[in-house]
Symmetry: C2
Subunit: 135 residues, 2 copies
């Protein structure tokens, strides 16, 4: 049993590394957030840049603080709805530090007994936006 | 030691799940390939659609087969160069089954003693491409 556990452990270590490489290679902005706490569990480099805050400062902080004019209770309710209801629309938000209009798409899931929400932040083009880097 | 291992195991399980959710939520096409074998270790839904092949058929198959007019030795050399040399250009390829021009960006890494390459496939807009879904 000990050996089987160690073998499994090796396999899981591989997913750990794959996860890290993937978060850094994707051009989408991603955050993992605790479903109950609303606190950031992890953020990739694109998300950090979009929110204008370093990863170490983001982790553990309350995600609602990063958006303009949102109250915690209302935000958490909207986030939960977006993450669990297939009919729900994505959330339209504005980043507080960088003033960027973004659309938040959420996916709820359970990992090792903890409920998490994966948030993808897509910048929304505004009328005055230049046409470079739209892809 | 057994308990510490089991606690670690739980943590790693979480990365396993996060990895899976992330591969499905990103809009980029990603493949993990064995650096030596050139065989697909994993592919996300966007990559499967871009290559026109199901995940189960892709996994274990040789990636070079999915592109037009490429020989294995030449492709593996170019892939290794793209993945390890910061100065190297991405590879411009054409998918065999869907006839789509793509640009392959590669990142080499080591996970659990195995050398892997993460490939991101970005569709390249051609002159006749319609303007929907460019984002």
């Amino acid at each position: 049993a000990q050996m089987a556990l160690e073998r499994d452990y090796e396999t899981q270590r591989e997913y750990d590394t794959r996860y890290r490489v993937l978060t850094e290679a994707t051009r989408d902005a991603f955050l993992f957030v605790g479903a109950k706490s609303g606190r950031v569990v992890d953020a990739n480099p694109v998300a950090c840049e979009l929110l204008g805050l370093g990863r170490n400062d983001l982790i553990g902080s309350s995600l609602v603080q990063e958006f303009e004019g949102r109250r915690r209770a209302e935000f958490m309710e909207a986030l939960t709805r977006a993450a669990t209801d297939d009919e729900a629309r994505p959330l339209d938000l504005e980043t507080r530090r960088t003033g960027q209009a973004v659309r938040l798409t959420a996916i709820a899931f359970r990992a090792a007994g903890e409920r998490l929400v994966l948030c993808r932040l897509d910048p929304v083009a505004t009328a005055v936006q230049t046409d470079d880097e739209m892809t």
